[in-house]
């Protein structure tokens, strides 16, 4: 009861459930921007193979109840205490999305709490804005599911540029698998690359505001047998990262922004952060990256975005809670943000 009285007027608590890919996460967040808990379990595919949607879904359904209970317990809340249940409605892998949606629906129905549909990429952006305090930055979202340069305009996030084929996360994961680098490939490639010195020639493909990483992947994989792995990892990072920084700089110049937010799983890479910081400082602006605690997929991003969405009246009926595996960022109305 004391906890209830501590709550400010209009403050809401949201339970968030993330389930789009490898990670199943749950978290409780308040509309004041406090992350009260953030619990996750990650499905690890067998060495040398990618994510198998059905196996990931089986993994997630096994650990889901435990993760959700743990998130509530760590926040010191019961299901009755929370005001809304948010879940990642998409985009992501269908079978995996359905695990999160199913448990969210069950809790929503059992405790009569509104159900809040959240777009996974928007949640990456919101948790980035929360942890950096940036207000109206150009957003660069780099993860396994997205490589997108976006800006906010007229009630929606608009895509300025993106990958034409695979994402930066896909590139690193697939290269890692081919080179026998253990999962998670990104951080391991970063570590190996730090010992590389020699630049190996690889294709640098920028098409207008978009990047294309599939040709780079093919070329890099071909060079595995004849190259020193540190040099190849170093070259792969330098080329791939320079490409996304270049299109982001184009966006900053055209849209005349002074701030940039780097978010998503790959934003944990220190070399990438350094490159964005350098690019923005050379233009007299600044680049901030999401708190590394929340760069990868987490329940926290969904809980916090859920709290924002619920506070501005977003919710859905149980009957509408179908997952959207290919939901696009620029289709989502954002009533809680101006500009």
């Amino acid at each position: 009861m004391t906890r209830e009285r501590d709550r400010g007027a209009g403050e809401v608590l949201c339970l968030g459930i993330e389930s789009t890919a490898h990670t199943f996460g749950a978290s409780v967040a308040s509309s004041r921007g406090e992350i009260l808990s953030d619990i996750k379990e990650v499905y690890r595919p067998p060495m040398g193979s990618g994510i198998h949607p059905r196996e990931a879904a089986q993994h997630h359904s096994k650990i889901a109840p435990k993760v959700v209970r743990e998130a509530l317990r760590a926040a010191g809340k019961s299901p009755e205490d929370v005001d809304a249940i948010a879940y990642s409605k998409g985009p992501g892998l269908g079978p995996v999305l359905r695990v999160g949606a199913t448990i969210a629906r069950a809790i929503s129905a059992r405790y009569s709490k509104p159900l809040i549909p959240i777009h996974h990429a928007i949640a990456h952006i919101e948790i980035g804005l929360l942890t950096t305090g940036l207000r109206n930055p150009l957003v660069v979202l780099v993860s396994g599911g997205h490589t997108t340069v976006a800006f906010f305009s007229k009630g929606k996030w608009r895509v300025f540029g993106e990958t034409e084929d695979i994402t930066l996360g896909n590139l690193l994961d697939a290269f890692g698998r081919e080179a026998g680098i253990p999962h998670p490939a990104g951080p391991n490639i970063e570590g190996i690359a730090s010992k590389g010195r020699k630049l190996i020639e690889l294709p640098y493909i920028v098409k207008g505001n978009d990047v294309s990483y599939s040709g780079l992947l093919t070329a890099a994989v071909k060079k595995i047998p004849d190259s020193k792995l540190p040099d190849l990892c170093y070259s792969l990072q330098e080329v791939a990262f320079s490409m996304i920084v270049e299109v982001s700089e184009r966006a900053v110049a055209q849209l005349e922004r002074e701030e940039l937010l780097l978010t998503g799983g790959v934003s944990a890479n220190r070399r990438l952060r350094e490159m964005f910081a350098k690019m923005m400082s050379e233009r007299g602006g600044r680049s901030e990256a999401v708190d590394p605690k929340y760069s990868g997929d987490s329940g926290a991003q969904i809980a916090w975005t859920g709290a924002l969405a619920f506070s501005s009246g977003v919710s859905e009926r149980l009957g509408d809670s179908k997952v959207l595996p290919r939901w696009r960022l620029d289709e989502v109305e954002i009533p809680w943000r101006r500009g």
């Binding site: 895509v159 640098y204 207008g208 505001n209 978009d210 700089e249 900053v252």
Partner: protein, 211 residues
């Protein structure tokens, strides 16, 4: 090379300076060093783009697509000296004059002429299309251009233009693109295939939901 000249524009990859070249008003386009790229990669990219842009500007002009004349190229300083074109960018023209006043058909024709000769612009945004003071248009900024007769590359070129319209001025985008495509169709017989490829590339962008 560009010291003491007036900075016209600090773009994403190059600085444009206003200067003179043998008594003629000229633009010095200098590709500046990018601190975020390692020097070796940075040098390679800037040299490739400087050389490619100079040769493409010239080649495209011979196809009847107006471009600024290239007065001089210096790979070492990554500088191209260009004819100064009096006019405004399509980006501002759309904003201040509205689409009615623009030669949209002619823009489509120019893009069509390049494509029919196997040249892809690579950065076909509304900032790179100039409306000349005396009428007519000019295409600029060929730093990302390349040679290809692949319909998919042509489609991607159009997609960039579509995106530039869509992200900067949502309301009028569709009408403007339709008029441009009329001009494009007058040159390219297989325009429908290119448009189909454009939509395909757009759909391939991750998470494009089927509507």
């Amino acid at each position: 090379m560009a010291k003491g000249m007036t900075l016209l524009k600090k773009g994403a990859e190059a600085n444009l300076y206003l200067g003179e070249w043998y008594g003629m008003k000229a633009v010095y386009k200098v590709r500046v060093r990018k601190g975020y790229r390692i020097p070796q990669l940075d040098k390679r990219i800037r040299e490739e783009r400087t050389a490619r842009e100079a040769s493409m500007l010239h080649e495209v002009k011979l196809l009847g697509v107006p471009t600024p004349s290239v007065y001089s190229v210096d790979i070492r300083s990554k500088t191209i000296v260009l004819e100064f074109i009096e006019g405004i960018r399509m980006k501002e023209a759309l904003e201040f004059r509205g689409p009615k006043a623009l030669p949209l058909f002619e823009i489509g024709e120019c893009v069509g002429r390049m494509h029919s000769n196997g040249i892809i612009h690579g950065d076909l945004t509304t900032s790179n299309i100039m409306l000349m003071e005396g009428g007519g248009i000019a295409l600029m900024d060929f730093g990302l251009s390349f040679r290809s007769s692949d319909e998919e590359d042509m489609g991607t070129d159009l997609l960039i233009l579509k995106r530039a319209l869509g992200s900067l001025h949502h309301e009028r985008a569709r009408a403007v693109l339709e008029k441009i495509m009329k001009g494009y169709r007058s040159i390219i017989e297989f325009a429908d295939d290119v448009v189909e490829k454009m939509l395909e590339v757009e759909r391939r962008g991750r998470y494009f939901s089927e509507r």
